[in-house]
Symmetry: C2
Subunit: 201 residues, 2 copies
Amino acid sequence: MGKGEDTREAVLEQATRLASQVGLHGLTIGSLATRTRLSKSGLFAHFRSKESLQVQVLDHAAALFVDVVVRPALAAPRGEPRVRELFERWLGWCGSGQLPGGCVFIFATNEFDDEPGQVRDRLVRAQRDWMETIATVFRSGITEGQFRHDADPDQFANDLYGTILAYHHARRLLRDPQAERRARNALDRLLDAARAAPALT
Amino acid sequence: MGKGEDTREAVLEQATRLASQVGLHGLTIGSLATRTRLSKSGLFAHFRSKESLQVQVLDHAAALFVDVVVRPALAAPRGEPRVRELFERWLGWCGSGQLPGGCVFIFATNEFDDEPGQVRDRLVRAQRDWMETIATVFRSGITEGQFRHDADPDQFANDLYGTILAYHHARRLLRDPQAERRARNALDRLLDAARAAPALT
């Protein structure tokens, strides 16, 4: 990696942390210059435009998410253990683990849902990829005979995402000490509903 | 109502619509002046500061939410019919009914979860009130014998909020045509789990 690439990566790391707190709109070249002690003109040379910076922050966050959530989860045994590993790591991502202001994607969703363009397109791709990954992980539990064969993986992905969004709200806004317990209860209930009914003997 | 109060209400209505699209941070006195054709100095006279404007937008949105969601839901029969009425009206609120950019409270949550102050305090109060209202409505179903006596109303409120957040994401960001169906499926599953088990005879 060249020096320019190292700098770019270091700036993107700071930018992603900042975006988790102030959003992609709140992320200005000025605030990033202060934070990284680089000149505004140097930052412009790296990122060209605010929109390009925002897209690169989403790329950076997506790569980080794969490293700390997706890849380790896929190393767990198929089916329920993999779903649980994915969920625990995702809770950590939203809580405090990686980014000081919570999940960048959740914040960006509200900022860009009404705003067509490259940033919205990149975000939609990230979210669709993620929902498909959840559905695929869930499906491994059907194949393994742990979940009912007629369980709906896309519905499960939808409901698991809702569980995480409720957790993000309860923990980050309400600072509810029950947030984690409630999220785990919700997961247990989703898995109960998915689990194969005992054979009628 | 005096003329000043009429103007203030009309401006708050526009400000709330705008905040649903650009967030409370994106809501500037300048953009509001353009939209309402009032002078910036006139707007400053009404609202004093941006923070005061943001708090008043949340007050306005909370009053609107009571009018279009809470009050009509409370007119439905106690228990499950009331839960369903509340859910349907809440879906409408998030979808397209009232505000062009979706739910103001969901957007504001991400903007202010890391930002102490009057706006965050007002938002936390609105969200706590709402979670308690959901729990109270659910509890009426326990009292009526429709839901299990050991069902947890706060867990239900948490899970119902997650269902709505997943819907907001699927509909507004992903434009998923299945969003509404998935939300209703999730509600049905929550109610199945809450419903009193049939007596063992």
